[in-house]
Symmetry: none
Subunit: 206 residues, 2 copies
């Protein structure tokens, strides 16, 4: 592989190879292209491609960022309005990872996740968990669409808040229904001992 290439050809392929597998070392690349390690290093320098350890570190940092973003925001989508215990609005742009590759239609659970995150942020409590949901999915959402969701508290009984949820793409209703949130469930750390949670029955779900 990679014999009889001139410098420009090799550099183009080099770029590609590193993109494909960022974990590859200069030594492996040298073997792959039948040149010396020194040549690979010069090529990398010309192409401004960082060394393997740096490439790996950047990958890992990207991951770190996304994990942190998820932890920090607690919201899928970007929160644009928030009035605690009243209503909240977020927008969410559908990316490649959210769609069925064949049809470019967003998977339903991402639409649910937006609503669910929004409802979690809306409840003014240290901890808020989803207790129930009733949702209708009216229209498919496509790659690149921006979905605007609004969740609104419409009733509250004890620790349970009933919220009305809707989401739109432009003026087209995408999803609508209700989601019930439970604030500060007792004894959350006593795994599956949390009686207060389990005993919520239909009566509590107004």
């Amino acid at each position: 592989m990679g014999f009889g290439l001139n410098r420009l050809e090799r550099q183009a392929l080099l770029h590609q190879a590193i993109e494909e597998n960022p974990f590859v070392t200069d030594e492996q690349l040298a073997a792959q292209f039948s040149v010396s390690v020194a040549t690979i290093r010069l090529d990398r320098q010309m192409l401004a491609i960082p060394e393997a350890r740096e490439r790996i570190r950047r990958l890992a940092e990207g991951l770190q960022d996304s994990v942190r973003a998820l932890e920090a925001d607690e919201v899928v989508g970007t929160l644009s309005e928030l009035s605690l215990n009243h209503f909240a609005v977020s927008t969410f742009t559908v990316e490649r990872i959210h769609v069925f590759s064949r049809t470019e239609v967003a998977r339903g659970h991402f639409l649910f996740a937006q609503i669910n995150s929004l409802a979690t942020a809306l409840i003014d409590a240290k901890i808020a968990l989803t207790a129930r949901s009733e949702l209708r999915f009216y229209r498919p959402v496509f790659l690149q669409d921006t979905v605007t969701a609004k969740v609104e508290v419409i009733a509250q009984r004890g620790r349970v808040s009933k919220c009305k949820a809707v989401s739109y793409v432009h003026d087209n209703l995408v999803l609508g229904g209700f989601i019930w949130m439970l604030a500060n469930p007792l004894a959350i750390t006593e795994r599956f001992q949390s009686a207060a949670w389990v005993t919520l029955d239909e009566e509590d779900m107004f």
Copy 2:
């Protein structure tokens, strides 16, 4: 910070510190805990914590894996049984990214995602979309728990399948309810022109 600790205290905090920031080097840790680099190395060895470069590499590899998994699978969780148009079972182990960091309780939308993915896989059609859901969340699920979900077609009218959905951790009911799936929606590519989809009304939702 970190003065006057004995070995066990220091090792516990060390574990925590590295988990929080996997990019930290032994030198930084040594400074943080006011001990020598050698001590940190011995501690890491005892705790079987790999070196910084290895930690970073694993993070980066995990990222690659997870991106691929999401693109490849189409299913959140691992499909363990599938009888098309009849029932399907999957398991899903709750990881760090799925939980609220404070409480280590899984976010509701991941539980939904498991059910939704399973229902999508279950319907024997080129394309299947979520049309409606009614779910109760009975118990919180924690980090490291393995959730087993079953979705079962209980009725079918035209292109709509009504499915019963449940998920458990061991024998504890976590989530239960119904999800309606729409098979082969017409004109899916005509964005928001898909009349057949929008005109589904309550009548169709048996």
